[in-house]
């Protein structure tokens, strides 16, 4: 299974995302922001970092990169796409997911081991988890406060599209403790915490993040 990992100028966790794909048994494929296509991959990860310095708004400039048109098309066609942190911001800016991200409520960058609840274990990226399962993965961002209007939030809740919720203290002021969401079809998932940093007990707080990558590989194997 070939999983593309996009590198934008300023992407930082692209190598770690590729490593996580490898640990889970997939083949990572390097995608470059200026590419016009996604090189026939089976799924795409938009990694964390500060694309284009996150100047203007987090993810805004990357959301308009050439490769994103191909990613948007592929996502609309059902290809699994995962946006992690900056990747989540890019998905929102590219309108693949609703809502937007603001500066953290306390205005500081926060790096910590974060407890999350998997609220939807039926997406392409969460099928390896149990519904309601709690996991711990790193969280690190300064623009992680998820907002959307009430109607959108109600809709997300009603349709089970809140994929992850922060457990315990809300780290950034996200509305309704939302840590990640999915599109209606369940193939596009975005979240602020970093599952790719939790695939090896030596370097991560847990190995709880591995399930994201095994989920998508599993799903594709049975597709």
């Amino acid at each position: 299974m070939r999983i593309g990992v996009v590198t934008f100028p300023g992407s930082l966790d692209d190598h770690d995302a590729a490593r996580a794909v490898r640990v889970a048994g997939g083949d990572p494929v390097v995608l470059w922001h200026a590419d016009a296509d996604v090189r026939g991959v089976d799924a795409v990860v938009l990694p964390g970092g500060f694309s284009y310095g996150d100047y203007l708004r987090a993810g805004a400039i990357a959301g308009m990169a050439p490769v994103m048109s191909a990613v948007v098309d592929a996502a609309r066609g059902g290809m699994p796409v995962l946006g992690i942190c900056n990747g989540f911001q890019v998905l929102c800016e590219a309108h693949l997911l609703p809502g937007a991200m603001l500066r953290n409520e306390h205005l500081r960058f926060v790096c910590r081991d974060q407890r999350l609840r998997v609220e939807n274990a039926a997406t392409s990226w969460t099928s390896a988890y149990g519904q309601g399962q709690e996991i711990v993965v790193p969280l690190k961002n300064i623009d992680g406060c998820y907002v959307a209007d009430e109607r959108t939030l109600d809709e997300l809740e009603a349709e089970g599209r809140v994929a992850f919720r922060y457990v315990g203290e809300n780290p950034n002021g996200s509305l309704r403790d939302i840590a990640g969401i999915t599109n209606a079809r369940g193939n596009v998932v975005g979240l602020m915490p970093h599952p790719e940093h939790a695939v090896d007990a030596l370097t991560g707080p847990t190995t709880d993040g591995l399930g994201f990558f095994t989920s998508v590989l599993e799903g594709m194997a049975h597709a």
Partner: protein, 752 residues
């Protein structure tokens, strides 16, 4: 209207032209020497160049005579691939890998503009590492501030921390450690030191020099603007053009995104082998880069300065030479590689200009639109600057200070008072949890961080296959150093060494940042000379050469200097990072051992400082042979899997080590005060050469044998377990209460 350009020709004809050398920070005899060297008066551009390159910051003119000790006394080390004098030293770590690391200060700019000052400090040290051909893999940030409750500290500290995080996080470099220390002497002189570690293959080491006649000199990265040239605008006599900004700032704004792109771009240039060498541009900008590249190479260079890409077209040639715009690099490129070079910079959207070439003239010649404005022997600019043998003298007050022993200070007695002291220290600014700071730093990025704050040392993996990795710790105790500068520097070294060994790594090399007051004060100069002597002697004894570092002088307010603060970074090697030793207690039933000898040592201690506001007496005794022995035990025990956790003892003594070890994973401990020692001394003395270790019953016997074989003092003082820290017959502290004390201090001070 622009005045006639001050060319070398004009200068030769107008020897009496008045020049603002004093305003540029030169002494009269220095100006005279420049005239001697050139055989005429300098042009304005030359004056600009000499004045920055001969400044204390760039020329090390007050410290040079002392720093030589580091080279002369360097212990032999097979591991040293590149020694002092280059951008950064390079150390062999095995399997064909090498590591380079260096620490630098950005103190003054961080006081003026905390966010940008600290951010550009990180940016600068990362470019130093990059210039060696290495990929930067981690940063650290030893910090010093005025009192925590001072209003100005509330401006400076949050800005500095946000700046270090803002820049480092955006570069994608994990922050793996540092220090946060408070003392009134740093109130208007905060210390912002930054350390970077990089990794490379042996064959990829690059030294920055301009050799190969005909090779191109290329400037790439950010455009050159009016940043950091405060003083150079004095040369405005060069121009009466009143449209240009009147006052140039002396603070730079960094662009970490540009730097991230520059890192990837430089590494691609190196690996494509299309560049001979790269020099970073830091202090003194193009002046420094051209004169250093030329004098380290074949000695000649010709530059057409108007080819430099500018952000601000009103800059004069002198200002362009002095500009400290960030995120710029200078490359030396063979003509046949130029196209390939430009293709790579274009791929990364990095603006690039060919500004000159290497010559065999032995002269650095800089033209401005065809007219020569600089014609100098580059060595006279970069290497043969003034050297001062500044007078130094042990200050008169030193005796009184050392006589003011803490022995007569009232001490806590009985369980209740000891308990209260433990909580008071655990919550004191210097010992309280630093997570308010470190939570603002990304420690996970790059996926190789094995240990970071609050561990003894930062540990990063270098090679996935073998598990090869390095450990780095930085330490420095200004109070100890004030009491005895020679010993203080050695204590800083000993602590960093101990931290690295405690994490299981074998210490191999040292970098240092020497932060002191004014060198023109003989007392400060004495502190400096003694500290250097102490550090050089210490490195010789421990077999860890100094590979590079930085000196920051003039850290003082009026006549009052900061505490003399040598910050020492030690780098160690771990053959397999899976063998590292973490500091927290984890397993109920593990035995707790105290290694080393506890004496009654409270001079300069955290207890005397926090409880009595007292500084006097002598610092704890240094025994570097003991440190080495302790290190060997900790390293062997880690390698053989004999210990589960270890924590070195330092500020706050055993009590503080127990606090940190129990809070790490919320697993308590019960200890007993051994017979024959006063409980207060046992808990709070800061004797050196000690560590706390947790040992599983399965390996207990082998561990004790290991210590015995080496004849190192060790005592079983307790056992891991429970939800409290208990000292038999004296007191219990519930871990929840302990955690509140330890973790509330920073949020209470800075979450206004």
């Amino acid at each position: 209207m622009t005045m006639e350009l001050d060319t070398t020709e004009v200068a030769a004809k107008t020897p009496d032209h008045e020049q603002p050398w004093a305003e540029l920070g030169l002494k009269e005899h220095e100006y005279d020497r420049i005239r001697d060297i050139l055989g005429r008066r300098p042009t304005n551009a030359e004056l600009a160049m000499y004045s920055v390159m001969w400044s204390e910051h760039c020329s090390y003119k007050s410290s040079k005579v002392h720093l030589r000790r580091f080279g002369e006394q360097a212990p032999h080390s097979d591991a040293l691939l590149v020694g002092m004098g280059e951008n950064a030293g390079v150390v062999d770590v095995g399997h064909g890998y090498a590591v380079t690391f260096k620490i630098e200060s950005h103190n003054h700019p961080s006081y003026v503009e905390p966010y940008q000052g600290a951010a550009t400090g990180v940016g600068g040290i990362v470019r130093d590492i990059l210039a060696m051909g290495a990929r930067p893999i981690a940063v650290m940030d030893p910090l010093r501030f005025g009192p925590m409750d001072a209003p100005d500290t509330k401006r400076v500290l949050p800005g500095v921390v946000a700046g270090i995080g803002g820049y480092g996080n955006c570069l994608g470099l994990p922050n793996i450690g540092g220090e946060v220390v408070f003392d009134p002497s740093y109130a208007a002189n905060p210390l912002v030191n930054a350390l970077c570690v990089g990794v490379l293959r042996h064959e990829d080491i690059h030294l920055a020099n301009a050799s190969g006649v005909g090779n191109k000199i290329v400037l790439f990265g950010a455009r050159t603007g009016g940043d950091g040239i405060g003083g150079a605008s004095i040369l405005a006599s060069e121009s009466f053009d009143d449209t240009k900004p009147s006052k140039r700032p002396s603070v730079q704004v960094g662009d970490p995104f540009m730097e991230k792109v520059l890192i990837e771009c430089c590494l691609e240039l190196f690996s494509a082998r299309v560049v001979e060498g790269i020099q970073d541009l830091g202090a003194a900008g193009i002046s420094c880069a051209t004169s250093e590249l030329a004098s380290n190479g074949d000695g000649g260079m010709h530059v057409d300065l108007e080819k430099v890409l500018l952000r601000d077209p009103s800059l004069t040639p002198g200002e362009i030479l002095m500009s400290e715009s960030q995120e710029r690099m200078m490359g030396v490129v063979a003509p046949e590689n130029l196209d390939a070079f430009l293709a790579i910079t274009a791929k990364w959207d990095v603006e690039t200009a060919v500004i000159g070439e290497v010559t065999d003239t032995g002269r650095l010649v800089i033209d401005w639109h065809g007219e020569t404005i600089v014609d100098v022997d580059p060595r006279t600019v970069a290497h043969d600057g003034p050297v001062y043998e500044r007078p130094y003298e042990r200050p008169a007050w030193q005796d009184d200070l050392q006589a003011a022993s803490p022995s007569s200070l009232p001490r806590p007695a009985g369980g209740a008072q000891l308990r209260e002291t433990l909580l008071q220290l655990a919550a004191a600014p210097n010992l309280a949890s630093k997570s308010w700071v470190t939570d603002q730093y990304d420690r996970y990025v790059l996926g190789n961080t094995v240990l970071a704050q609050p561990e003894n040392a930062g540990v990063v993996r270098i090679d996935d296959q073998t598990g090869l990795g390095v450990a780095v710790a930085t330490d420095g105790n200004g109070r100890y150093t004030k009491l005895d500068p020679y010993a203080g520097a050695q204590l800083a070294l000993a602590e960093a060494y101990r931290n690295v060994a405690t994490s299981g790594a074998r210490p191999v090399a040292v970098t240092d940042c020497l932060n002191f007051g004014s060198p023109e004060d003989p007392g400060v100069m004495w502190q400096f000379a003694e500290a250097v002597r102490g550090l050089a002697d210490g490195c010789q004894t421990l077999g860890t050469p100094v590979t590079g570092g930085n000196v920051s002088l003039y850290n003082q307010t009026g006549d009052v200097a900061i505490l003399p603060t040598p910050v020492v970074g030690v780098l160690g090697v771990l053959d397999d990072v899976a063998r590292r030793t973490p500091l927290g207690f984890r397993e109920t039933g593990h035995a707790i051992y105290l290694l080393g000898t506890t004496r009654e040592e409270f001079g300069g201690s955290e207890w005397a400082h926090v409880v009595h506001g007292h500084l006097g007496g002598l610092p704890p005794a240094v025994d570097l042979d003991a440190e080495r022995q302790l290190g060997e035990i900790l390293i062997a025990a880690a390698r053989d899997g004999l210990i589960d956790a270890a924590h070195d003892l330092s500020d706050g003594g055993l009590a503080q080590a127990l606090v940190e070890s129990t809070l790490r994973y919320g697993v308590g401990a019960r200890v007993a005060v051994p017979g024959g020692i006063d409980p207060f001394v046992f808990l709070f003395s800061e004797s050196q050469g000690r560590a706390l270790v947790a040992v599983s019953p399965d390996t207990d016997e082998r561990f004790v044998r290991l210590c015995a074989e080496r004849g190192y003092p060790n005592q079983r003082i307790g056992v891991v377990g429970g939800a409290a820290l208990s000292v038999d017959d004296l007191f219990d502290v519930d871990l929840d209460e302990l955690r509140r004390a330890h973790e509330s201090t920073f949020p209470a001070a800075f979450d206004a």
